[in-house]
């Protein structure tokens, strides 16, 4: 069927419905390198504005680090621009193997395989290692890419209440007849900023003879004493069977992901994972930059320590100002507003005050859980955080929500 007027009209109607529902995604054009301060054109066509970025995944501030850029440039010079093939044909370079070895050492695993993104890693891993006789038991708040990966796999699926170990144990008991069981969780949950209780999950996995899968995308590089991730934080390094993570957040922010873990599981991905078999891996420039990132964060914890201090300051400041925030210890700090429209209006006012932060609402978060998700970075200096806090407080006063409880905010604005 050609793209006739009737087809076009159908899509237009659908897009209009999305707009009318208030959930149309508008891109903000960033006209600067990713950093704590960025020049933004929003809405498109309007004058550029210098704002403080409070919602990037640039946790360690390495997206535009001079040494990372220099390494990437050298990678471009010495290994070229593109791979021009999938890996097992002619698309693996020495710098890709070097990066896999560095990631293995950094994460404390047995082996690692790169993917074009962590979304691809999550899409490919389950089908590669599990069959119909097996069962996947996932925390209900795992990332959407894990849900997609599970749906592509023929193994049985089940879920447990978020971070609820009693419920997980019930599910493990229920599935004792399966050939393999694998518990699936994020390390740091991207919407709430809380950590999975990995020590308890590992204990249950040992009790019920189950494997553990961990997506540590929002933790690799900065959670744990030396930034190895959630498994380091909970003292279970070496006990996680599969870790997926991204190079697109703290680890340089460009792109790419990996599956890291038990040697045989990684090898199964090399043999069977479709995004590995049918897609080019990360370009040389990214591999070279990421190699330098791993060097930098292996040499010093200075950045993750600063990030920890920034997050603690921000959480304390918001709490004292009278906001309702999700408790936790990560640099993901959700400011709870509960009402979807309020979250959008609040974000717009913040932008006018020079702060870039985005409202999240259903279906990205459950109904009645709308929020502004703020994220800290080691690139933030004290003056950035003080200015952002002043802006949040000013806008909070304007909407009359400071020092109100959840129930009082809902009473005022509805859910």
């Amino acid at each position: 069927m050609a793209f006739q007027d009737t087809v076009r009209d159908s899509y237009k109607r659908e897009l209009d419905e999305i707009r009318a529902g208030g959930i149309f995604k508008e891109e903000r054009i960033i006209c600067a390198p990713q950093s704590s301060e960025i020049d933004v054109e929003f809405p498109i066509g309007s004058e550029r504005k210098r704002v403080i970025n409070m919602c990037a995944n640039n946790y360690l501030g390495l997206s535009s680090h001079p040494e990372v850029i220099a390494a990437a440039r050298a990678g471009l010079d010495h290994r070229g621009y593109g791979m021009s093939s999938v890996r097992f044909i002619c698309g693996t370079q020495d710098i890709h193997k070097e990066l896999e070895q560095k990631l293995t050492k950094f994460l404390g695993t047995e082996d690692t395989i790169l993917f074009p993104s962590c979304m691809d890693a999550n899409a490919g891993v389950f089908e590669a290692i599990l069959g119909e006789q097996d069962v996947m038991i996932a925390d209900r708040l795992v990332h959407a890419s894990i849900v997609d990966g599970m749906r592509l796999c023929k193994a049985q699926q089940d879920t447990f209440k978020h971070a609820n170990m009693e419920h997980l144990e019930e599910k493990l008991q229920l599935h004792q007849k399966a050939r393999f069981r694998i518990i699936i969780t994020d390390g740091a949950f991207s919407m709430d900023g809380d950590l999975a209780p990995l020590d308890k999950i590992v204990a249950l996995a040992e009790k019920y003879n189950s494997m553990v899968f961990l997506d540590d995308s929002h933790a690799s590089g900065f959670i744990g004493k030396t930034g190895r991730g959630t498994h380091e934080h909970f003292g279970v390094v070496g006990k996680i069977d599969v870790i997926t993570t991204t190079l697109g957040k703290a680890l340089g922010g460009a792109s790419g992901g990996c599956v890291s873990g038990r040697r045989e599981l990684v090898e199964m991905c090399r043999q069977r994972a479709r995004p590995y078999l049918f897609s080019n891996t990360i370009p040389p420039v990214v591999a070279a930059g990421a190699n330098r990132v791993i060097d930098l964060i292996s040499q010093s914890t200075e950045r993750r320590d600063k990030l920890e201090r920034n997050a603690a300051f921000w959480r304390k400041g918001l709490t004292e100002a009278g906001f309702v925030i999700k408790p936790g210890e990560t640099p993901i700090v959700p400011v709870m507003l509960f009402n979807a429209k309020l979250s959008q209006d609040f974000a717009r006012e913040l932008y006018q005050e020079g702060i870039y932060a985005v409202g999240f609402f259903f279906p990205v978060v459950p109904k009645g859980q709308a929020r502004i998700r703020t994220q800290l970075s080691a690139a933030h200096e004290q003056h950035h955080l003080e200015k952002a806090l002043a802006a949040f407080t000013k806008v909070g006063k304007k909407f009359g929500i400071l020092h109100l409880t959840k129930e009082q905010i809902i009473e005022k604005y509805g859910m």
């Binding site: 209440k161 279906p363 459950p366």
Partner: protein, 82 residues
């Protein structure tokens, strides 16, 4: 039939409600009401299959078919579960 209804309602309460005081009934919208999302729905399908020894094809396990206890009862009738 009321017995099956209560079995399913009880399962939904135990499996999905975080707030024990939340009141739901046979017609409460589960999917469109935000109590059960499409991912979590897999445990409901699994429960029904184990409990009543049936296989529900994915094409039949739609959000609409699982949107309330009464809808689920209607679906189960197709598999002669009454």
């Amino acid at each position: 039939m009321s017995n099956i209804k209560d079995v399913i309602l009880d399962y939904v309460k135990r499996e999905y409600l975080e707030d024990e005081d939340q009141v739901i009934n046979y017609d409460t919208p589960l999917i469109s009401g935000g109590i059960v999302d499409s991912f979590s729905m897999v445990s409901l399908k699994l429960f029904l299959e184990h409990k009543y020894n049936i296989q529900i094809p994915d094409a039949k396990a739609t959000p609409k078919a699982f949107d309330s206890v009464n809808n689920i009862i209607a679906l189960l009738k197709e598999f002669n579960v009454q």
